[in-house]
Symmetry: C2
Subunit: 374 residues, 2 copies
Amino acid sequence: MSDTPDSPASPASDPTVRTQTNRARRSTGRTVLSDVAKLAGVSTATVSRVYNEPDKVSANVRERVEHAAVTLNWFPNAAGRALASTRSHIAGIIIPTLDDQVFASQVSGMQAAFAARGITLVLGCSNYDPAQALVQVRAMLARGAEAMAVVGEAHPPELFDALRLYRVPYAVTYAYREDSPHDCIGFDNFAAYVQMTEHLIGLGHRSFAVCLQPTRDNDRVQARVAAIRATLERHGLAVRPEHVCEGESTIGFGRRSLRSIWQAPCERPSAIICGNDHIALGVLREAEELGIEIPGELSVTGFDDLEISKEIRPTLTTMRVDTYEIGRLTAQHLLDILDGKRPQHGHEVRALLEIRESTGPAPNAHAGDARLQR
Amino acid sequence: MSDTPDSPASPASDPTVRTQTNRARRSTGRTVLSDVAKLAGVSTATVSRVYNEPDKVSANVRERVEHAAVTLNWFPNAAGRALASTRSHIAGIIIPTLDDQVFASQVSGMQAAFAARGITLVLGCSNYDPAQALVQVRAMLARGAEAMAVVGEAHPPELFDALRLYRVPYAVTYAYREDSPHDCIGFDNFAAYVQMTEHLIGLGHRSFAVCLQPTRDNDRVQARVAAIRATLERHGLAVRPEHVCEGESTIGFGRRSLRSIWQAPCERPSAIICGNDHIALGVLREAEELGIEIPGELSVTGFDDLEISKEIRPTLTTMRVDTYEIGRLTAQHLLDILDGKRPQHGHEVRALLEIRESTGPAPNAHAGDARLQR
DNA sequence: TTGTATGCGTTATCAT
DNA sequence: ATGATAACGCATACAA
């Protein structure tokens, strides 16, 4: 690989040797398989076999071919392979954004698992826009993606239609539902927020606020809201409209939310359930600013368990999901399908509740309620 | 796109119509360009033109073709296009890891800019391993990448040789040096840490510690260390070996580092320069734990300006770089080259010093020194 | 403006 | 075990 551009090994050297017709050629000047075949004194079929079915080639010939390939600095052209074999060795994943660590690590997990099998993972970001997700999926189908993963199931029906029409195995990630029509790998967002809500109810809390990222086109967040509402309802409780904040997933939004909740002309909540740790971190910071004692006066919960969440004071009660593992499992699931295995409906990974300092007994909790604390 | 799998529009319908030879065909059962041509009653060349040179086709014919394509649910196969046009419409980027937000946002920026031009960005992670980076680059060349970006220049010479050999335009990102042999888009790591060090020296600090991520195979971090050493040296100062910590880029490492520095049997530093905000956050947290007053007793600096860094108490003095913009500029630079323009050597983006609460005058600073503070 | 014919680099089929 | 050659799906030079 250290040849200078004009060395004999340059792929641009002597392109005329391949000119065979009287018609003008569109030569790329790159080393191609037939060059290797010629140098090794074998047929093109044999060169191909050396890389795809090594066992079917004698050791002697194989060595000669490999040597020729190294000499000429040749490696197979992916487009040619894809066309001839009708296998692209490409898989795709559509995530909302790379700005969120949970999706980034999921991509890492998938990429590592696919790379081990010689499959290139192509990434697309929808920016939480269903239309963009559809465009991305179509682009990946055009690229011949052999398998696809999409985060969540809040996508246009055309997206899944296209996947089915072209018989591309796919999986919905991050979310998991037993009764999903799709294969899915992730956790149960509803169950997770039921658990979180029950934790607070067990601590005696009866007045809640929620601060969430945008629910639109986001089935995961919608499931979380639904879980909170359903759980409270089962206890005869509900969140006041003034205590529901929806906005961007930032510390700043968390801070603004707490301020507005605290200024609302109604009874203040004793607990705030946040859509993720960023928002919760903002709530904690603003509480410090406003002199609100945590958890004495107010309990706060997040989701994702960022590294910082166990380091700040008070430490944040939150839930942890292994998103890298979600990515790894998703790739494995899709590989299994490509291998002709018929794997399960999907995989459920656990969301773990990490109870820390930011949640505690409700200020006016009855002794009986407080004892429910785990 | 809403056709059921067995609708007339299914690409699997009637594959026999394309069988023309007595030889066995390896039909993929997918709708191809010639199907569209037949339905529209035109030649394959015309269909191709509709998508590649629309102006050269009459509106009437164009409409018929587009209608046929929609009816048959066809879109061009990327491998076929790549092979025939010797253009892959693929660009690649190699980053160390997606776990670091700065690289993730750089990828976002590149992807957005490339997508606007119909180019798919393929991502590879080296995990800070030069060998993996080389493998990734070769894989992308095999995929026919038309342009490449790599983070930093600490890569095997074979990597850049391969890029040059195949005449693939490339850029080194995140780092910028006037005298770099490569096109580069980023900031000057050396200059940034000179500025940071001077800031502390201006505050009267004379005894320093540094906590950095691994320097091996990382030219950006190496430049930062060199900058710190050179700047101190210019003032007749140096960092004691006991005050140099190198480790993972985590809050935990920052905490452990401060503890070991504080326990070292020598004069304690009055300032700690960290390789990034994560590490600095750890130092801040451990300082609180150890009862070290910041910045009264100890000044701390980070790098990256995470959202949390201006929210924690004390707020963190750090430097900010627009990494999304680095990605956008990189894509633009590479597109310019592909367009035949001969752009500059690269682009330098600014690293902005954000002076906050975590840095202040050195405990025993002379009045004269302290006045150097900006 | 449109059609014809051929090649892009590889793999797969068949024959040896 | 190896070779000859026809696809794979599309784009393009050239003819009309």
